[in-house]
């Protein structure tokens, strides 16, 4: 068993001049970072952390934009045995006050020893700190030690134990930032080994990714897996990709990319929004797996993507699917790369009413659902009913898993860890069924919304809406609504107000839209202001999100 530092060091000793990362940025030419340079760049941060007396096992929060500073500060932490955790950077749309309070919440639970950021952002960070906080130092990037050849005796990362925590992984929002998934070196390598088998990974593989590194899919599949396997990674930024999705295809063509992970919406986004002029000379024949992951998978999205790009050498069997979560490091299942994922035709009515997947009965409508593949070799899956009893094949229940790559726990949150486990099995909160050994994910037990692969907690959005004058606490409801055109969920927020004046209602709706977006970075697609008593509550006074969603849909249909 090895650790992150030992593996990276071994790779750089074997092939120092091999390119580890081609770092892409729309504003400048691609930057080639060799494995040797990766260690040198990381080591400059290691020495900076040592100068500030950061100890092995202490947490370092990285608040940096996508780029080489983020990459080096991450590896610098790993090399000294500290625990890096990447927090999304403040964007122009997000309110600094909200960002500060999220950061303060993260600090209070995660108790980092240091935060790394840019000099121009230091004041912002200082404002989030309180006397008596765990943070001993805010390290700014221009105050780092110069690059030099590493002195191995200084690198405590090389003598860590496999069960030590290697990194923390947070999901976004106030709720997400308070639950850091702690992953050990052992868990990470067990995941990589199992995933490598499922993907038939070879040294020649080239991963192309634009995913953010604060997200598990970006951090594990789009960063650690290629680097710890000694492969080459082409890394683009999410900001550039969303404005120019063609860059992904151009990068695959230019660097002969073989592997890419995408959330479902990205298949639709690419298929709909890429101009012909940006595809001149593009050759996608090297792409052997484009893996759909991190939000519900839809065969229609694969179909649209294939139809749009087959003329550019895209192979049908390159489109694949996986089911993954940070609590299992990343992958839980993976489809068989030798053929397209299985699409089952099931009886829609029986599925909707009895939650059983069976062949269509005569005259019944057909629902086509796409498989996420088989569990990885090291991961076991069970489907449980509400009494925690196993259900038969084809019957929907909660997906629970057990593996040798599970989280150590939610960091400093034994309460949350205990709640997530049942008899040694991790309760995923996702609904699904198993058919012929393959997992079909069908929904969620929790009310979580997934927008473009990002987890959003409706209660975060609802709380924000209560801060808008005219909206009262407990009187709004947020939920996701699948948008087939976009291939992901649209966010809906409904708020009760006392005013019946249309102009005033419109003003409140605008304010909700602006306030929620600025404080969550989640764009609301529908904001509906309604009269009092519109929102349905359960008998215990809680907001019934599913019932309100149905009511909203009915009104939308009748419009």
């Amino acid at each position: 068993m090895t650790t992150l530092s030992e593996r990276l060091y071994a790779i750089q000793t074997r092939s120092p001049e091999q390119v580890a990362i081609y770092l892409q940025d729309a504003r400048r030419p691609d930057l080639a970072i060799t494995y040797h340079q990766l260690i040198r760049g990381g080591y400059a941060f290691s020495r900076t952390y040592l100068r500030e007396r950061i100890m092995p096992g202490e947490v370092i929060i990285l608040i940096l934009q996508h780029g080489d500073d983020l990459i080096y500060s991450f590896w610098g932490a790993v090399l000294i045995g500290a625990i890096p955790s990447i927090m999304p950077f403040l964007t122009e749309k997000l309110s600094p006050e909200k960002y500060r309070s999220d950061l303060a919440a993260l600090i209070s639970i995660t108790k980092p020893a240091a935060i790394v950021t840019y000099p121009e952002f230091e004041t912002e960070i200082q404002l989030a700190l309180k006397p008596g906080d765990s943070v001993r130092k805010v390290i700014v990037t221009n105050n780092r030690e110069p690059e030099s050849e590493p002195d191995l005796t200084l690198l405590a990362g090389l003598v860590r134990a496999p069960e030590d925590i290697a990194l923390l992984q947070h999901s976004s929002g106030t709720t997400g930032l308070q639950k850091g998934v702690a992953l050990s070196h052992r868990a990470i390598f067990n995941q990589l080994n199992a995933a490598s088998v499922a993907l038939a990974l070879t040294p020649e593989d080239v991963t192309v990714s634009w995913l953010p590194l604060y997200h598990d899919m970006g951090l594990i599949a789009g960063f650690l897996m290629p680097l710890l396997s000694g492969n080459t990674l082409v890394l683009n930024s999410p900001f550039d990709w969303v404005r120019a999705p063609h860059r992904l295809l151009q990068a695959v063509s230019q660097y002969k990319g073989t592997l890419t992970w995408l959330p479902n919406f990205a298949y639709n986004f690419c298929a709909q929004k890429i101009r012909e002029r940006h595809l001149e000379g593009v050759d996608l024949s090297s792409w052997r797996a484009v893996i759909n992951c991190s939000e519900p998978v839809h065969w229609e999205s694969h179909h649209a993507f294939y139809e749009r790009f087959k003329a550019y050498g895209l192979k049908l069997e390159a489109l694949q699917a996986s089911y993954a979560m940070a609590e299992n490091v990343f992958g839980v299942t993976q489809s068989d790369l030798s053929r397209p994922p299985r699409v089952e035709e099931i009886d829609r009515e029986v599925f909707m009413t009895h939650r059983i997947a069976c062949p269509p009965l005569d005259g019944h409508k057909v629902l086509k659902v796409m498989s996420s593949g088989r569990p990885l070799l090291n991961t076991h899956i069970r489907i449980l009913d509400e009494f925690n009893k196993d259900v038969p094949n084809g019957k929907v229940g909660e997906i629970v898993l057990q593996s040798d790559c599970m989280l150590t726990g939610y960091y400093n949150r034994p309460d949350a860890t205990e709640k997530a486990l049942f008899d040694g099995w991790f309760l995923t909160g996702d609904y699904g069924y198993v058919s012929n050994g393959e997992v079909f994910v069908s929904g969620r037990k929790k009310d979580m919304i997934i927008v473009g692969g990002r987890n959003v907690y409706p209660q975060d959005l609802e709380s924000l809406s209560y801060e808008v004058p005219g909206v009262h606490a407990g009187r709004s409801v947020a939920f996701g609504l699948f948008n087939p055109e976009a291939g992901t969920e649209d966010v809906v927020l409904i708020a009760e107000v006392n005013s019946e004046d249309e102009v005033e209602q419109q003003q409140i709706a605008d304010k909700i839209r602006e306030h929620v977006t600025r404080n969550s970075a989640v764009a609301l697609r529908y904001v509906k202001v309604v009269d009092p008593k519109w929102i349905l509550k359960t008998s215990s006074g809680k907001t019934a999100r599913a019932a309100n969603k149905e009511k909203f849909l009915k009104e939308l249909e009748n419009q």
């Binding site: 729309a26 504003r27 122009e92 749309k93 900001f239 550039d240 969303v242 404005r243 120019a244 999705p245 919406f265 986004f269 929004k273 101009r275 473009g452 976009a486 419109q506 839209r513 602006e514 977006t517 600025r518 764009a523 697609r525 529908y526």
Partner: protein, 83 residues
Amino acid sequence: MEDLIMTALEEYISTKILKQPGRKIGTDEALISSGMIDSFSLVDLALFVEDKFNVRIDDAELNAQTFNNLNELAALIESRQKK
């Protein structure tokens, strides 16, 4: 001319992006920095502008610095059309 451009932009944004047909958008109302238009919709807006007004918008221009309200976007479109 700019009025016609702004009317078309307003209709597109209110109908397609905000899903509130008929919603009025002030000519100097912040579009991007306010979160009214999210990053996923920016490309849609650029594609609409390119097709409708036969101008090119570079992906590096899709940000609040280049245009953040209808006035600025209409001015950008007009300046491109004159070239």
